[in-house]
Amino acid sequence: MALQIGNIAELLKAKVLTPELDLSNEVKHAFASDLMSDVLTGDYEKTILVTGLSNLQSIRTAEMSDIREVIIGRNKSVSKEMIELAQENDIVLLQSSYSLYRISGILYEAGIKPVY
């Protein structure tokens, strides 16, 4: 099962913070964590990072891990610098008011698989 990131944004009623990027990217897996060192241990393919950590390091971590989609949950505010860094690195950045549990549940139900 794969979903386009644009459809994921609709499912999660998420705001697309990088609308100029390609929203047809396919997502097959999700990984949820607030600990960036944990994220940095994984191998990812077509994976969205679900996190409540809203700072530049969440975007840097996605960049280093070759993750192309990030959703910030729990209605955390996202800085202009984070959006710029995401744009520079072709990372689609979403923002949702849902909790990480709710985001993860919706994605799981939609057929998005865990990384492990």
């Binding site: 600990l35 060192s37 940095l40 241990t41 530049l56 390091q57 840097r60 280093m64 690195n89």
Partner: protein, 138 residues
């Protein structure tokens, strides 16, 4: 090719800039993506360590056709027991560092996992030198 970068202690805004720059260079050199990822994750965790613990540091990345040697030297508290510091879960990080998504005692183990060769020298009260050597070709 020799790349050099400075790191400021406590500067979480810029942590990762050097790793990002090295990533761009390795991409231009057509290094396989999996090898680039190993290099940049090891370097990124090292940058975060310097920002988290030291007052300043400098990075030198020496790139030749099939190998990269990264030396990161900092002025900081040093590591009194390197073996202990390599244990997963061991940490001396502050609350501030944990709020940034790090500081769970995974940095050095992550650096080791992503390095082909890792060398660490440290003098308590003076600083630490981390040298990461990775192959760039399959």
């Amino acid at each position: 090719m020799l790349l050099q970068y400075q790191i400021e202690g406590g500067d979480f805004v810029n942590a990762g800039k050097a790793s990002s720059a090295v990533k761009r260079v390795l991409k231009q050199l057509d290094v396989p993506a999996r090898r680039i990822k190993r290099v940049v994750i090891a370097l990124y965790e090292t940058e975060v360590n310097v920002v988290a613990h030291a007052s300043k540091g400098e990075i030198e990345a020496e790139i030749d056709t099939d190998k990269i040697i990264i030396s990161v030297k900092d002025s900081g508290p040093g590591i009194p027991d390197i073996e202990k510091a390599m244990e997963e879960g061991f940490t001396t990080a502050s609350k501030e560092v944990r709020e940034m998504g790090f500081g769970a005692g995974m940095g050095l183990p992550n650096i080791q996992r992503n390095s082909d060769h890792l060398h660490i020298e440290s003098v308590p009260g003076e600083g630490t030198l981390v040298r990461i050597t990775n192959d760039l070709r399959d």
